[in-house]
């Protein structure tokens, strides 16, 4: 029997991979990190929720609708707001603030929409609902465990084929690599951008509606996932769609595995892993030439060593180490959101080009 947390890690990982893929697709074209991206996930959530509760349509079918709705909203946001702004030469930071503002606008819209659902259809759980039942079951686990990876694989393959085998895909790659040159060659760069925003938003909607089968959702669910999505995207290198897929799988998998693993009573293993990681990163930093990094390396290494001593002596006088070791339980959750953040920081420090930049040694020759 496969343990539950492994299955959960698979679902998490695939969903984050889908979301990170979409975010990267939009980032590649317009070079603006979209802070409102989480809201597209929420749109997917609510498309699935409404269709399931009011029309008894399965979230699998709803995911197609969600793809269209989220993608449409995303493309509209690009055409209606971001494109006019960037045409005016608005600096990057101001564009980021604009997407931040759009996110808050979405929060208001979701609020009104859920108020409407409550007032009109008497859906009391519209603000915060449990996962949608009715998923089929296969080999004793929920169907989404198989469907989500399958969808991810299919979409990745389709994107790969689009980029390498079709004329439009090649035009897309050209517009990403060098927009002015692509324009010179007669490629309608604007259309390419709109399509990539459409696809990017669509992936978020798709992931959101599959998400409802697995976990409870609410108006702020997507907004709260933004850390994991960014972390996945950055881990993948922010410049590569296929890197984002790997990044999402790593982030989603590790967040669930690490916290659940530690919560299951793997306290010593988990704390030991964190201590080892600290020592390794410390050793890595110690090799650096700048003094600040050396000091940080020494501090990190000392911290790891201290944690080992603390655990080995069994006195556990330190609250933090005690919390790490003592079965975590309620004490590990404070750091759950910290895991993707930590991975993001480490990725930015050690692997600024992302996972995709790692080449096998043989390829170097």
């Amino acid at each position: 029997m496969v343990p539950g947390y492994l299955i959960s890690a698979v679902v998490y990982g695939t969903l984050f991979a889908l979301m990170a893929m979409g975010l990267t697709l939009t980032y590649l074209t317009t070079k603006v990190p979209n802070f409102a991206y989480g809201s597209f996930v929420t749109i997917g959530l609510y498309t699935a929720y409404q269709l399931a509760t009011l029309n008894q349509i399965s979230p699998y079918a709803a995911s197609l609708v969600a793809f269209v709705v989220s993608g449409g909203v995303s493309a509209l946001m690009y055409v209606g707001i971001l494109r006019p702004l960037s045409n005016r030469g608005t600096p990057l930071v101001a564009l980021m603030i604009a997407t931040f503002g759009i996110d808050i606008g979405f929060i208001g819209i979701f609020g009104i929409y859920t108020d409407y659902l409550q007032a009109r259809y008497k859906l009391v759980d519209a603000k915060q609902f449990f996962s949608i039942p009715g998923d089929f079951s296969l080999l004793g686990v929920q169907g989404v465990v198989f469907v989500a990876p399958l969808v991810l694989a299919l979409l990745t393959l389709m994107l790969f084929l689009l980029f390498t085998r079709t004329k439009f895909g090649v035009a897309m790659r050209a517009s990403i690599e060098n927009p002015p040159l692509a324009r010179v060659l007669g490629i309608n760069v604007e259309r390419v951008y709109v399509v990539s925003w459409l696809l990017g938003g669509g992936f978020a909607g798709l992931a959101g509606s599959l998400y409802t089968l697995w976990l409870p959702g609410g108006t702020s669910t997507g907004s709260n996932l933004i850390v994991e999505i960014f972390a996945s995207s950055i881990l993948g290198g922010l410049g590569s769609i296929f890197g984002a897929v790997i990044g999402g799988l790593v982030i989603g998998g590790s967040e669930d595995l690490v916290t659940t693993g530690l919560g299951l009573g793997f306290g010593y293993i988990g704390a030991g892993l964190i201590a080892t990681l600290a020592i390794f990163v410390g050793a890595y930093l110690l090799r650096k030439k700048t003094r600040g990094r050396k000091v940080a390396g020494i501090i990190l290494g000392a911290l790891g060593a201290y944690m080992f001593v603390e655990m080995a002596t069994g006195f556990s006088t330190d609250l933090f180490v005690q919390g790490l070791v003592n079965g975590f339980g309620p004490d590990v959750t404070p750091f759950q959101k910290g895991i993707p953040l930590l991975i993001m920081v480490i990725a930015l420090m050690v692997l600024p080009q992302g996972l995709i930049s790692i080449r096998l040694r043989r390829a170097k020759k």
């Binding site: 990190p33 006019p84 503002g101 606008g105 929060i107 609020g111 108020d115 933004i226 600040g292 930015l348």
Partner: protein, 399 residues
């Protein structure tokens, strides 16, 4: 017994004004600190909430513990579990100990400033090295993490339980309604004025001009010998310390330490909106922007009960949509904000005109009134003259 009322159109303008002032001064301080890092130094701090919440949480946590220790209250009890009893006992003693109250508040604000500065120092590490987009994502993520951390890590402020904070205004609230708000407004206004004076001083100082130089052209300023990394780090530490202090003052005002108020919308987006509306890099503009923002927010709160019966949804949602629209509209129509960023004169206007008069009267022989030139123009002329003199001395060669 309370403050006198001043009712027009069913609104008590005294209590409205006090609520307005409390909010205005708090957000003025926060927005000015954001303006220092974003407007002057060009660091997009999308994790502003973290620094404010950090200061608030630590001040809220430490003040209660220190007061309980000093008064010998609840020595053998868990501070978090018996929080309500301990704090109400502390409050009762604080009323009769004004000196200690002030000391406690000052100590907590100092701790909050330290926490803010520490967080600022930590975030300066990526802020120096990363591009704006990576940095924005990282800081936004850190802010979100910090909120989850506060919610789930109970030893600090009780996690999801929320704890009470000793009420330094307890004496004033015993006098009657309104006095507490009045004194709190005075305190936060004094703080905001100090921050404003400091921000203006920075703007006029060489540091302010260097920050703008680093923001506008990093390479050029580096070539001129300015260490952009140190400047960015210092300004992050300073403005984060201000944010931490603002958080501490706010937590004393609401007399509780809560996790769920620290959303990135209210504490990161709103200050950004204010700075954008007012004009980035212009402190007076930010003060104006805060005023308009507060006016809209408080005005909507007044209208809300009248509008609510007519719609099926919570009217407050419209506020979010309105702010989003306002931001986009400002960015589209007036990207520089209400007041544009201007070159800051190094001397005050009166000093410049005094110098001008001195120069003019020394000019000798000329009896006519000196023509009116703006102080800035005069400075420019003066600089030109200086440049010419230097040229002359250079061409003259060594004696």
């Amino acid at each position: 017994m309370g403050l006198p009322q001043l009712v027009f159109f069913g609104v008590d303008f005294v209590s409205f004004g006090l609520g307005f002032l409390n909010f205005y001064a708090l957000y003025l301080a926060i927005s000015l600190s954001l303006n220092l890092e974003f407007g002057f130094a060009g660091i997009p701090n999308f994790g502003k909430v973290m620094f404010i919440a950090g200061g608030a949480a630590f001040a809220g946590s430490i003040s209660g513990r220190v007061a309980a220790y000093v008064f010998g209250v609840g020595a053998n009890q868990d501070f978090i579990i018996f929080n309500t009893q301990i704090i109400s006992a502390v409050d009762a003693k604080l009323v009769t100990n004004p000196v200690f109250t002030v000391e406690l508040v000052l100590l907590s604000i100092l701790v909050a400033a330290g926490i803010g500065a520490l967080l600022g120092y930590l975030s300066s590490y990526p802020a120096i090295r990363l591009r704006e987009d990576y940095l924005g994502m990282l800081l936004l993520g850190s802010g979100a993490f910090f909120q989850v951390f506060l919610r789930t890590y109970s030893p600090l402020i009780g996690g999801a339980q929320n704890i009470s904070v000793p009420d330094p205004y307890a004496y004033w609230s015993s006098l009657g309604t309104g006095y507490r708000d009045l004194v709190a407004a005075l305190v936060v206004s004094a703080f905001a004025i100090l921050v404003f004076l400091y921000a203006e001083r920075v703007a006029r100082s060489p540091l302010g001009r260097t920050m703008k130089a680093v923001r506008d052209n990093e390479d050029a300023s580096r070539a001129l010998g300015k260490d952009d990394a140190v400047i960015r780090r210092n300004i992050l530490i300073i403005s984060s310390a201000i944010a931490g202090m603002a958080g501490a003052i706010f937590t004393f005002y609401i007399a509780s330490a809560e996790y769920d108020i620290w959303t990135r919308f209210a504490w990161t987006f709103w200050p950004f909106l204010i700075v954008i509306v007012g004009g980035a890099g212009n402190n007076v503009g930010v003060a104006l922007g805060t005023f308009f923002f507060t006016l809209i927010l408080k005005g909507l709160q007044q209208i809300q009960p009248y509008a609510q019966p007519y719609v099926f949804f919570d009217v407050n949602w419209l506020q979010d949509i309105l702010f989003a629209t306002l931001l986009i509209a400002i960015l589209l129509l007036r990207p520089d904000g209400i007041l544009k960023e201007r070159p800051t004169p190094t001397l005050s206007k009166s000093k410049v005109s005094a110098m001008v008069n001195a120069v003019m009267s020394r000019g000798g022989g000329r009896q006519t009134e000196p023509e009116k030139i703006s102080p800035l123009g005069l400075v420019r002329n003066k600089l030109k003259r200086l440049g010419r003199r230097r040229e002359k001395s250079e061409t003259a060669g060594p004696p």
